[in-house]
């Protein structure tokens, strides 16, 4: 045997990577003079201790499922899409334009508004990914650099629109007018009340959660059961071999990046349409970047992404509660996020190499 068993690859190594990241996070909390175990309990209580906490945890989870899936599709095609943040912002613009400017006559019910918003968000998000994708495919300019640039350009564009043309006249804040009531999505409270389950009224989790879950299934089927998914994966594994198989690199790069952008854009259905109900400056709140950590942790598998998104939803909500009840600032989440990306992404081999050697040595001993 010259390989590790599959379970070690799929479960053991990610677990060890995460363990290191969390132990180090604990040490950071300890170093700033707080008790890591107490902090963890506060976070768990804040995220899962009430339906209010659950409502926020699931709201963040929904965001991260979208952005995590987006990054993972690009990863499958060997593209590193750091532009999820900008694509989600511009997706939000699409959702906002749909909600603000499509006459309410055409949208008699929230379900129809949702369909319009999803189409607009996906098209705008995909459009924002198109130029970096085209430049990578046709000009060979590195998609990482161009998507970073497009994040900044998106920020500037949104800043301009929300101070200028789209700003609500006479308002102090840089924000658009509120969306019409008919576009407001039902929250978990409204969805669960008819079933006799009481859920916090003020929590933002809404029907988008189910869209995100459905999206996990769609992405799984697309990547593993369709011709396009096969082509994307083949291209990602070996671009040169896939060319011999008749797969067009230009097509795969552009399609994979646009799918990625479209799913990032769909995040706005949850944040912009479901929660803020108008266009604001920072609706994405870094979720696009967290998508990178989520995709890495979830090993680019939709089910893994779902679990990782839930973990980060917990960290996000728990972290906010922690900053309310202790002296630990909210930025702790960013530290944890950085450590998770570092150990599950960049330093993966640090754990993988010795573990692999151990398994091989053990197998040899058994043979002898």
């Amino acid at each position: 045997m010259d390989k590790m068993p599959k379970w070690a690859d799929v479960a053991l190594i990610p677990f060890l990577n995460l363990l290191i990241a969390f132990v180090l996070s604990g040490l950071v909390i300890f170093a700033i003079g707080e008790n890591p175990f107490k902090a963890l309990m506060t976070m768990i209580d804040g995220a899962f201790g009430s339906t209010y906490g659950w409502g926020y945890t699931l709201y963040y989870t929904t965001n991260f499922i979208f952005t995590g899936l987006a990054v993972s599709i690009a990863f499958k095609a060997a593209m590193f899409n750091i532009g999820g943040e900008g694509q989600a912002m511009i997706g939000g613009l699409g959702v906002g334009i749909a909600c603000l400017f499509i006459p309410t006559v055409l949208m008699p019910h929230w379900t129809i508004a949702l369909v319009f918003a999803m189409i607009a968000g996906a098209i705008f998000g995909a459009g924002w990914a198109l130029i970096p994708a085209y430049l990578q495919a046709k000009r060979g300019s590195h998609v990482v650099i161009t998507t970073i640039m497009f994040n900044f350009i998106a920020t500037a564009l949104m800043g301009y629109l929300l101070i200028g043309p789209l700003k609500l006249k006479g308002a102090q804040e840089s924000a658009s007018a509120s969306f019409p009531d008919v576009t407001n999505l039902p929250t978990l409270h409204e969805l669960l009340a008819p079933l006799g389950i009481s859920f916090s009224k003020s929590a933002p989790a809404n029907v988008s959660l189910f869209i995100a879950l459905a999206m996990c299934v769609v992405v799984y089927l697309l990547m593993n059961r369709s011709r396009l998914g096969y082509e994307i994966r083949a291209f990602g594994e070996s671009p040169t071999a896939s060319v011999y198989a008749g797969i067009s690199p230009t097509k795969i790069i552009i399609v994979a990046m646009m799918l990625s952008g479209a799913i990032s854009g769909l995040m706005a259905v949850n944040a912009t349409m479901g929660q803020h109900e108008r266009l604001i400056l920072n609706a994405v709140e870094g979720a696009g970047f967290i998508g990178i950590a989520v995709a890495l942790m979830g090993r680019n598998h939709p089910f893994g992404v779902l679990l990782a998104a839930l973990l980060f939803g917990f960290l996000y909500q728990g972290g906010s509660e922690l900053s309310l009840w202790s002296k630990i600032p909210r930025e702790l989440i960013i530290v944890i996020q950085g450590l998770v990306i570092l150990f599950t992404g960049a330093l993966d081999n640090m754990v993988r190499m010795p573990v692999e050697r151990m398994f091989i040595a053990a197998a040899k001993r058994k043979d002898a």
């Binding site: 950071v28 170093a31 700033i32 003079g33 590193f80 750091i82 130029i131 430049l135 000009r139 300019s141 590195h142 990482v144 650099i145 161009t146 970073i148 640039m149 497009f150 900044f152 350009i153 920020t155 500037a156 564009l157 800043g159 301009y160 101070i163 200028g164 970047f289 990178i292 890495l296 002296k327 630990i328 600032p329 930025e331 702790l332 989440i333 960013i334 530290v335 944890i336 996020q337 950085g338 450590l339 990306i341 570092l342 992404g345 960049a346 330093l347 993966d348 081999n349 640090m350 190499m353």
Partner: protein, 335 residues
Amino acid sequence: MDFLTIIQIADSGLRLATPLLFACLAGLFSERAGIFDIGLEGKILVSAFMSAAVAAVTGSVWLGLLCGVFASISFSAVHGIASITFRGNQLISGVALNFLASGITVLAAQAWFSQGGRTPPLMGEGRFMPIELPFALGRSDAEAAGVPLRVLIDQANPIQQVYSEFISGHTILVYVALLMVPLSWFVLFRTRFGLRLRAVGENPAAVDTAGVSVIKLRYASMAIAGTLCGLSGVYLATGLGAGFIKEMSAGRGYIALAALIFAKWKPVPALGATFLFGLLEAIANRYQNIDLGGFVIPVQFMQALPYILTVVILAGFVGSAIAPKAGGQPYVKER
């Protein structure tokens, strides 16, 4: 717009270009050796924080500089371990370090100073002061003449205006940054070390065959990049500003990367590119919206311009930008 205004904008452009120039040269050394470094942003941030924190506590800006550079080098070392020794993905490592820096600086600032994620303002010896070059109009001249310095410069001849306003009166790090340009050029293009460093970024196997250690060269490039990036952060917190503020790097690491592409991975054009981006920032700071005879350029457009220009360059519409060939690929000795 009169002559003096232009000089003043250029002066402020030079100040704003300095952190970009240090970071851009840092990226230059790193990428020329075949290592992508999108962690410039994070290194600027940790260095800015450490230098300001140490300068605030000890009152010595030089100790601050030392610690700031050390912090940046340690981040570089992690990047090196991840991308050279463990052959991890260099882009992912850079992204991770940026997040780590952005979070840990606020956490530490809050734990040490409890001022909402900033350090106490630096005063006196705690920050770098402007240097008045000989024959330049400065504060002492103004006191001797009994008029404010602004008036004195306004009355001076154009050459004296350029000299006093633009060339003189910067902190030492600005001059160090300018000096780094010819120095980097010399090291990269006129020394054996530089030749090998560039070769490692193009074809590491050839360097290895010649009996030179790829690993050592790449770690050396990481150390240089860490030092330069550290100086960028130090200047930001103790020269340009007076203390650390949360997220004060504000995307400068990414603008430096943009400048690096703009300069096509060469030191002297790097000066031009960073100065251009510095000027854009200075103009955006000075004028909110620019009115060109009825057509108004919004300030957001000026802020986005460095990024837009870089995309245009990358698209190959204005000359082609060809990166070092082996960039981003870990080197595996035997197959």
